[in-house]
């Protein structure tokens, strides 16, 4: 796995020279994180046991909305994370 990671990394340094001219490829790269991360985020937030979805005022959902808002307005990553987790615990245990 580590070797594969390294090979992939190395190959793209060289491959970049050939692909960089293509705007579609650029866009594709740009869209990867915006598609991969929500695929991890949404299930973790909305499906804590089976499917608590929109209705729920689960601590997960509320904290996530708060984090989204904070991170939109403030650049500080640590601030967003700490605030989000604090809110999560407050709702969960109070």
């Amino acid at each position: 796995m580590g070797i594969a990671t390294y090979i992939i990394r190395a190959s793209f340094i060289f491959g970049e020279k050939y692909f960089s001219k293509n705007p579609v490829f650029d866009k594709f790269i740009e869209l990867i994180p915006v598609c991969v991360l929500p695929a991890l985020i949404f299930p973790a937030v909305f499906m804590t046991h089976s499917k608590l979805d929109i209705i729920g005022n689960s601590p997960e959902i509320i904290a996530s909305i708060a984090v989204a808002i904070i991170s939109w307005y403030r650049k500080n990553l640590l601030l967003s994370i700490i605030t989000g987790m604090t809110l999560f615990y407050l709702i969960k245990f109070l």
Binding site: L40, A44, S71, I81
Partner: protein, 232 residues
């Protein structure tokens, strides 16, 4: 001792330093999460050493916790890591257009900061041996990561399971990605991928995630093409 190599190394170390406090909590969380996912301490350390891929490591852990098959985990690691590697190549290109790294890029591509910092210096042309510089930056960051992960792995036992500390993973992902969603096609990608991943949640071997990503990227590209056409 102030020969060229030594000072280049410390230059790299110096430049990566501001970034390190940001990744320490990330690394600790990854250590704790590995244990929470059921890995033994040895396996967790192994994971940390061998994979060492920041966000993709956490993504992999999310999958392991959901009992995805090994193939899917590997493929996802490749996909997520691909983004890291391709973007690191892209960052070097960005440097010819822009002088400063955007904070958004910095906070997202955490493991590529060593890279990014190196290419910054490359453009500025101030350093004699860029490889040594890169070593200074990358090794320092690697060390900080491993130590922090170690703390997470062994110190994590202090925290009970009920604390759900691993919720910090999606929280971190949210904090990273939201600031980056500034165009229509990205909004669509984000929502579509999120909804599809819930819809496809019960697919065998977690292929649902790959399907969500595949479909939403295609949709995003289509929308982008459409908005590009409308401009001209």
């Amino acid at each position: 001792m102030k020969n060229g190599k030594y000072s280049d190394f410390t230059e790299g170390l110096k430049d990566i330093l501001p970034v390190i406090p940001g990744i320490i909590p990330f690394a600790i969380i990854s250590g704790i999460s590995a244990i929470d996912a059921g890995l033994s301490e040895i396996m967790a350390i192994f994971l940390s050493f061998v994979v060492y891929a920041g966000a993709s490591q956490l993504a992999m852990l999310s999958l392991i916790m959901q009992n995805a098959s090994d193939t899917v985990i590997f493929l996802t690691a490749v996909v997520v890591n691909l983004r890291l590697t391709m973007y690191s190549a892209g960052v070097s290109r960005e440097f010819s257009r822009e002088r400063f790294l955007k904070k958004a890029v910095l906070s997202y591509f955490i493991t590529d900061q060593a890279y990014a910092v190196t290419f910054a210096k490359l453009k500025a042309g101030k350093v004699k041996d860029h490889f040594i510089y890169f070593c200074g930056a990358a090794v320092s960051m690697w060390a900080a990561w491993q130590i922090s992960a170690f703390i997470g792995i062994y110190g994590g036992k202090i925290f009970p399971q009920e604390l759900q500390l691993d919720f910090a993973i999606p929280v971190t992902f949210i904090a990273i990605i939201i600031p980056l969603i500034r165009t229509w096609e990205k909004i669509v990608c984000f929502i579509m991928s999120g909804l599809l991943s819930i819809l496809f949640f019960n697919f065998p071997m977690k292929l649902g995630m790959l399907a969500s990503v595949g479909i939403s990227i295609s949709a995003g590209l289509l929308i982008w093409k459409y908005t590009e056409k409308r401009k001209s």
